[in-house]
Symmetry: C2
DNA sequence: TATTATTTTTAGATTAGCTTAAAATTATTG
DNA sequence: CAATAATTTTAAGCTAATCTAAAAATAATA
């Protein structure tokens, strides 16, 4: 059994996600910022998670997940992404609304439920934001993508993955009618602020700020 | 917004349900038994719910729901029963397993989710145990049933509703292959212990203890 | 109706998860 | 490399939700 509180599960999930961009080691302040808690609260919880052997924590240095902590984090993400898929595909939620609800649903405790949802949805490999859905055993298909900010000019890409936890960003994508799997080609890039002019599906031209491009990930065709 | 904790929602739900058999007034000990908490904890919480105007509580006498408390209780039951329907119909859970999972799902906070689930399921009127599902506005279709213990001999009934919160009872129903909408006729009743011999769907004869019959509700044809 | 039994409440504690303010450690830089 | 800045931890305290044990109120009964 897992038997962790929703709060503890969230810590593990965020340590996993913040660790991905680092070498696995996460700083107290980064976690505090993500969780919107004080740094003191984080220190407190890290000590408790350490006692439970879910993280290895070294004072003033940082925290990383143990094997078991990582497995739990992956299962929480699995649940989150399966629920997002259900909300978007079956219930027709727009993608800017699903994250918040999935944040609650990911803490429902029932292995059987997760597996049945997975089956019901047809074992999806990616969620509505393009994030990979870990399988029952925790295997994750790592998508081979680059950030749009690092993409080359005049080269054809496909929008594969977008940042899922900012509803305002997703609303913006709705507004400019940009969707996953759209074809994207960068026509030119402003040197001053890195704003880019892109062409979508060989038709529409739109301007994208650097801030927006940082939340978009593409695959070369 | 509702903004109550899962614990508070559970209190309201159980006050509603225990109040149904009484005149709406629920005793501290009955709640304590249902919640599997000490009576002292219940007293404590009742005072807090009273401060929030969700219940009216009179020391040493009992507690009942206020109008707003009742509305919340009904919405929690609505969610519980919609989720049970989804778990049984769409995910093919057996009915002895759905209650426990729905106990968690009923506390997910999103009005839009509830309404979309309702629509997705085709606005069901009853859940898999035969309990009525309140609509968006809190209207409940009161089913016209009697307890099997009060049914007449040699009269034809239809099994309409079973007690949903005892998994062992539901497992037992699975075993004896009794389902909702089955035809039931009582052939004879033992005077000593009220055990009854019934005939199901004009075919099978089975023996039912008084304990079991107390959890079954039927409608005359 | 006086005594006993039952139910309910009060009092005092505990735990998880959070806070702010002060102290300690580590990092930066003139 | 010493002073300053930034980060992190410690200390002390709060709230929600639980508990046990003792006291108080109500109900049952001899």
């Amino acid at each position: 059994m897992n038997n962790l509180s929703a709060v503890e599960e969230n810590y593990l999930k965020y340590i996993y996600q913040l660790g991905e961009t680092q070498n696995g080691i996460v700083k107290t302040n980064d976690l505090a910022y993500k969780l919107e808690h004080s740094a003191a609260s984080v220190t407190d919880m890290l000590k408790r998670l350490s006692d439970k052997k879910l993280v290895s924590y070294k004072k003033y240095y940082g925290v990383s997940l143990t094997k078991i902590g990582q497995q739990i984090a992956i299962q929480v993400m699995r649940k989150h992404r399966l629920w997002e898929t259900f909300l978007a595909k079956n219930l027709k939620f727009t993608w800017d609304k699903i994250h918040e609800i999935a944040e609650q649903l990911e803490h429902i405790q029932s292995d059987e439920l997760v597996d049945k949802m997975d089956e019901y949805l047809g074992y999806p490999k990616f969620d509505p934001h393009g994030d990979p859905i870990p399988d029952k055993h925790g295997n994750i298909l790592v998508p081979n993508v680059i950030c749009l900010t690092d993409a080359k000019l005049k080269k054809l890409y496909i929008l594969q993955n977008v940042n899922d936890d900012s509803a305002s960003f997703l609303k913006y994508l709705n507004k400019i009618q940009l969707q996953l799997n759209d074809k994207i080609k960068i026509i030119e890039k402003e040197e001053f602020d890195e704003t880019m002019l892109i062409i979508v599906n060989d038709k529409r031209q739109i301007t994208i700020s650097n801030d927006a491009a940082q939340n978009m990930f593409v695959k070369s065709v």
